[in-house]
């Protein structure tokens, strides 16, 4: 049986249950997702490379395994997409840029290996902003695949830098997607595309085989259609890796039955965050705040610590990216980037004084301490709008977006965050975020599940059929 679109938009658990009940085979499921990915994904500039042939081959292996009773967990036979910054052996890994269009790795990224071992099926590589966009891009077209179009309105941008991952999860092109975040690259496309995006604690997920943009900030995480799905995927991709110098060498177990009661949580929020958003996004965000208060959590007003988070993140990403990409800056290949602002920022970053980088890292220590003090002060989770506005026109220069100060603050502190769809501004999704303490990723997923048990925004589907 060919799975219906209802099934393709179902949760991972639901798809897995039906797969095991033999309502359809893994090969049929994979074919159905590949068809959508290649048609709808390509039409939204969300697809970097289809991997149909290898995906269907793997799916047939899964079908054989299931016939023989060899089961390997919920992700067995589940098709997914990966941001094109993750190495997949034998296929180009472009990092979203013409400069690396012919780059081929001989080994899979660690997260791809882990998913492969769990039986998940890689259906395609997903579009991204070139070089993960951390260094001053100003155009949605700053990508080898062109501007990623928002599935809710093709005249709007999908967000970045995990653009294709946001589109693919939102439009039911895969069951889940992998993205990465240095500062906002999961949270932003999740908010703009109306999906659930999870940024893990720094060091929880191995980055081996992933493009490095800023080694003290890079994280890999899932973009899914629910918080529960994020937990299921995180449990597979997380874990120590001696080959990633930033690895925390910790594991992660997703065990929702052991979650704390929601009424035990104290949620902190800064009222100013909700006052400063765009007028069209405000009703949805205020309603989400009311929904959270109605969940029975304790509420506490907080303020974001007073540090120049934007300046810190710009200096740290600039300096680390200039070190990583020094060769392409010095030999002139950087001029092949589609966005000349990003090329100029990389060149300029080569001249960031060492004293500025050191100062930024030292202030970062203070900023992290201040963040820990919020949590030690009795707050379990921080609630804030994911972005201050819905997605902007795809043709507009970027840079006019309202500040979302908890994005740099949270990334500098290495703490986990989840973006949840919480309503609409016109026809465009709006997202709300929870941030948690480092290595309390389960709390963040638990509050996300609780929010999605009293709202249904995460079940809405964009008009892409």
């Amino acid at each position: 049986m060919i799975p219906s679109s209802d099934i393709l938009f179902s949760s991972i658990s639901e798809i897995s249950t039906r797969l095991r009940a033999k309502e359809f085979s893994a090969a049929e499921l994979t074919t159905a997702y590949c068809d959508r990915l290649e048609k709808i994904g390509a039409a939204h500039n969300a697809l970097a490379r289809p991997l149909r042939e290898s995906a269907i081959r793997k799916a047939k292996d899964v079908d054989d395994d299931l016939k023989r009773g060899r089961t390997r967990g919920l992700l067995q036979g589940i098709p997914y997409g990966a941001k094109d910054l993750l190495a997949v052996k034998g296929h180009p890994t472009t990092w979203g840029s013409k400069i690396f269009a012919a780059q081929v790795f001989t080994e899979d990224a660690q997260v791809i290996k882990r998913l492969d071992k769990a039986g998940a099926i890689l259906a395609g590589k997903l579009a991204m902003v070139e070089l993960a966009g951390g260094v001053g891009y100003r155009s949605a077209a700053a990508s080898l695949t062109g501007p990623a179009l928002n599935p809710w309105d093709r005249a709007r941008w999908a967000g970045g830098s995990s653009s294709g991952s946001g589109v693919a999860a939102a439009a039911g092109l895969v069951a889940f997607a992998l993205g990465s975040e240095t500062s906002g690259s999961i949270i932003t496309p999740a908010a703009y595309c109306g999906v659930t995006g999870f940024r893990p604690t720094y060091g929880l997920v191995s980055r081996r085989g992933a493009m490095s943009l800023a080694w003290t900030l890079d994280k890999i995480g899932p973009l899914c259609r629910s918080a529960e799905d994020c937990g299921i995927v995180l449990a597979v991709i997380a874990g120590g890796d001696a080959e990633d110098p930033g690895s925390a060498r910790r594991g992660f177990t997703y065990a929702p039955k052991f979650d704390r009661k929601v009424s035990d949580f104290t949620v902190g929020y800064a009222p100013a965050d909700f006052d400063s958003v765009a007028a069209d996004a405000r009703p949805a965000l205020q309603a989400a705040l009311a929904a959270v208060k109605g969940m029975g959590v304790k509420i506490k007003e907080i303020k974001i610590p007073d540090f120049p988070h934007g300046a810190l993140i710009q200096t740290i990403i600039g300096a680390e990216a200039a070190s990583i990409f020094e060769d392409i800056i010095r030999d002139g290949r950087v001029d092949q980037l589609a966005d000349r602002n990003q090329a100029a920022s990389l060149k300029a970053a080569l001249d960031i004084p060492s004293v500025d980088y050191l100062k930024a890292m030292r202030i970062r220590t203070l900023a992290r301490q201040a963040m820990r003090e919020i949590f030690y002060g009795g707050v379990d989770l921080i609630l804030t709008p994911s972005r201050g506005e819905p997605a902007g026109p795809v043709t507009d220069a970027l840079g006019g977006a309202r500040p979302a100060p908890w994005i740099p603050a949270g990334n500098l502190a290495g703490i986990p965050a989840i973006s949840l769809p919480c309503g609409f501004a016109g026809n465009l999704p709006v997202g709300i975020s929870f941030l948690g303490r480092a290595f309390f990723d389960n709390h963040v997923i638990a509050i996300g599940r609780a929010f999605q048990s009293v709202t249904d925004w995460h079940r809405r589907r964009p008009p892409v059929e």
Binding site: S139, A141, L144, A338, K347, D356, M361, I363, G414
Partner: protein
């Protein structure tokens, strides 16, 4: 440089891998042949961005100006000695 917060006792170490982190790039002739033969959605030229920016020198000057502005916003923060990055050595 030691960032303290994320240090933890080593748990189960995975088997060492010969491919270095963020490394292992190798373009084989066979792989290049595949790319050339199959073509790629990714190989489409990027859509041109909106209106052209000012000349390259002005864009570069603006980028340098942005880093200078960041430097200035950090200038006022007083740094206690506790923020000095630690360097620790272990017996070999």
């Amino acid at each position: 440089m030691d960032y303290g917060l994320w240090r933890a006792a080593p748990l189960q170490r995975e088997p060492p891998n010969r491919v270095a982190y963020n490394g292992g790039m190798k373009i084989t002739r066979r792989a290049l042949g595949k790319i050339a033969a199959v073509g790629s959605i990714a190989a489409r030229p990027a859509v041109a961005q909106g209106p052209p920016a000012p000349d390259a020198d002005a864009v570069l000057a603006a980028a340098r100006g942005a880093y200078r502005a960041s430097s200035q916003s950090m200038a006022a923060v007083k740094l206690p000695r506790s923020t000095e990055p630690a360097t620790r050595f272990e017996a070999a």
